[in-house]
């Protein structure tokens, strides 16, 4: 999957090579959680009892790899700073394909003009509430405070990938960026 390939390459270049048996864990999870990133162990958890389709798996892996990438490149205070958590959740919802039009329609959420941002905001809030004991108002405020900065941080994709074709394009640009610099 080009989304995952790009992220794995970006992680490697940032000094965080991902090894499947060290950095991934498949577990049974409560509720309808699909996965998570455990910063304490630097491990991505995939909820094997709640993922039933390859496309969903791809999306969850991408989402969690974005958290891992943020953990690798920045001092993210996952547990005490809600704004940090909000920022990574905004980026994960924005760049993983969580909020494509088809996914939103499947959730019976209909909208077109700028609806992607509405979805990203709502899903980021939902994700915060799923992992932290904070009020809805606190989660909403944190997301709103950092939304502009974090929605527009498109690393390592450089664009919002709306499809695998976009992700492949982004991967090509990512691989070529050293050449672009050298040319300059």
């Amino acid at each position: 999957d080009p989304y995952a390939r790009l992220l794995l390459e970006a992680l490697k270049q940032s000094g965080c090579t991902v090894f499947n048996d060290r950095h991934f864990s498949c577990e049974n999870c409560d509720g309808c959680v699909s996965g998570g990133f455990d910063a304490a162990t630097s491990q991505i958890v995939l909820c094997q009892n709640n993922i039933r389709q390859q496309s969903h798996m791809n999306r969850v892996v991408t989402h969690e790899l974005i958290h891992a990438f943020d953990h690798c490149r920045a001092h993210v205070d996952w547990f005490k700073n809600v704004k940090h958590l909000a920022c990574s959740e905004i980026r994960a919802a924005n760049l993983s394909g969580d909020c494509t039009l088809m996914n939103e329609i499947a959730r019976f959420k209909f909208g077109l003009k700028g609806h992607h941002q509405t979805c990203v905001r709502d899903r980021a809030i939902r994700s915060i509430l799923a992992v932290r004991k904070v009020s809805k108002e606190t989660a909403e405020k944190a997301v709103d405070d950092v939304f502009d900065a974090c929605f527009n941080d498109l690393e390592p994709f450089g664009r919002i990938p709306h499809s695998k074709a976009d992700a492949k394009r982004a991967y090509r640009d990512f691989q070529n960026r050293d050449r672009y610099t050298a040319n300059l």
Partner: protein
């Protein structure tokens, strides 16, 4: 020389003007994309190629990170740097074995 081949700028311009990209841009940003800069980059690239024999400088717009104006490429500082501090080295426990 320009960071990318002139065909790349042309390809990006064509992609930007396509219906699928326009739709996705409207869905994400609530407005249609502005593709003019890709065309300008292409023209600037072609002009550099034509004048290369005269040892022309790479045109200014191409130096100003054109195709690489995409945030996140070529060391563009991410907008989120106001939210958190970037690391100078990866987390020290990334490779530590699990208990």
């Amino acid at each position: 020389q320009p960071p990318r081949s002139c065909e790349d700028y042309w390809g990006e311009w064509k992609h930007c003007r396509g219906l699928r990209h326009a739709f996705h841009h409207y869905y994400a940003h609530g407005e249609l994309p502005d593709c003019g800069r890709w065309r300008e980059d292409y023209e600037a690239c072609r002009a550099w190629e034509r004048d290369r024999a005269a040892a022309a400088q790479v045109p200014g717009p191409l130096l100003a990170c054109p195709a690489l104006r995409r945030p996140g490429l070529l060391g563009h500082k991410p907008r989120s740097r106001g939210v958190w501090k970037l690391r100078k080295s990866p987390p020290p426990d990334w490779y530590l074995p699990l208990d």
